[in-house]
Amino acid sequence: MAVLKKVEQVMMALNGDEAVAWAVKQSNVDVVSAYPITPQTIIVERISEFVNNGEMDAEFIHVESEHSALTAAWGAALAGARAFTATAANGLALMWEILYITASTRVPVVMAVVNRALSAPINIHNDHSDTMGARDSGWIQIYSEDAQEAYDNTIMAFKIAEESLFPVMVTLDGFTISHTLQNVSVLPDDVVSDFVGVRRIPRIKLPRIHGDKEIPLMFNPKYPITFGPLDLYDYYFEHKVQQNEAMKETFPIIERVHKEYGEISGRSYEPVFMVPYRTEDADAIILGLSSTMSVVKKVVDDLRERGKKVGAIRLRVFRPFPADFLRRELSKFHAVGVLDRCISFGGEGGPLFNEVRSALYGLPSRPIVHNYIYGLGGRDLPRSLIVKIYEELLSARAEPEVPVVKYVGVRE
């Protein structure tokens, strides 16, 4: 990450949740609806303080469940407001129905998800089972490595959502990021406010058979419209294909917003979709998401000192899945270890592994890809285990027919 200081920023000691709350406060959000759930609680606590103290001109809706939290945010956004909500784990699970509805009706809600394990047994610690489960719901998913990135991603998310008309999930690791104090560079209020701008209301064109009428895509008594009514075998398929094709077109939007944000903040996050670390001449690399990759990078440094050709790649955007970038980036390595902080029960490895492996399958020469499932329910991934993974990858032989899926750090 290149840091070129463009505007005077204030260094604040914030934990990840507070960083998100600050980003929301500065982004001209009109409506926040939320139900507190650990480890997301601090986000909505801070926002409710901001609103109460008059520091933030927004409507805070106290709801009785996450299902209602997202429903209220969706409704507010449909009425033209900039809406935000936040959740974690079981709260996200309770939003399931509305996740799909928000995405299919193309409503640009922004949601912070503080990654946490799903029950049962109840566990409040970091795990990616919650957002990985929501991968097919049509939300853009951006994974943050630290509190600074959680702050930056949240601001960018509003712009990405409103320009692409897709809801955006910004994720941060439970406790590891959400509750850990960090120095965060905070932009001035007016700079963020100018950057996100005023919420634009898109216009839609009704098909020719209805006279080419153009109307705003929102609840408006002047142009009464119905969102998501009955659509059987005659049109449902077309609606879903349209949504999927539109999602592929969000890549340039995500890239452009990152570029614009880099220009004001000096934090460029280039490349946007996957961040390579010391991969130039690497034989083995570990590919993973979010805060774990900080530790992996440290291990890369240690191993490089010992002459091992290793590197790391952190995937920032999981949905839309940047398969083309991945194919270009990964084909040159001998072996790739994919870290999954999630189990896909009964599947062939974790969700990230599945997508990486199938993205590479069509290549004439592809790396050996192994899957390492780690850290469920907040289990630590110490450096010693990462070193072991690298050693295994460096000596990996040609890909066996059956994928190698291993648990790392579990008691046998």
């Binding site: 299919s104 009706t105 193309r106 409503v107 008309l165 898109p202 839609i204 064109k205 009704l206 098909p207 020719r208 058979i209 209805h210 895509l217 419209i225 119905t226 969102f227 998501g228 009514p229 009955l230 659509d231 005659d234 049109y235 077309e238 609606h239 294909v241 349209q242 094709e245 539109a246």
Partner: protein, 91 residues
């Protein structure tokens, strides 16, 4: 309607309704359809009032007319009719 079906590129964004429900002949699903015996009908309007799909047209004077394009054949009208003037016939 089938002649007017458009492809995914021509659909408006956001799953917005672009066809009125009047143009959507959901009565195609029906297995039973009501048949009214005009001699028995006393024009009370209970069938019109109870129909969950608003599939009866009635001007308040003549015999109510079922709109078979939208009637799903539930038979509520048959049950509610006080003079047994409605019979559900298998389509």
């Amino acid at each position: 309607m089938s002649s007017q079906l458009v492809g995914w590129r021509d659909l408006p964004l956001g799953a917005v309704a672009f066809i009125s429900s009047k143009e959507y002949p959901t009565g195609e699903w029906a297995v039973f359809q009501p048949k009214i015996d005009e001699k028995k009908c006393i024009k009370c309007g209970l069938c019109w009032m109870y129909c969950p799909d608003s599939a009866y047209r009635w001007d308040g004077e003549g015999v109510p007319v079922p709109d078979l394009d939208h009637c799903k054949g539930c038979g509520i009208c048959e049950v509610e009719c006080p003079t047994k003037a409605i019979e559900m016939i298998r389509v």
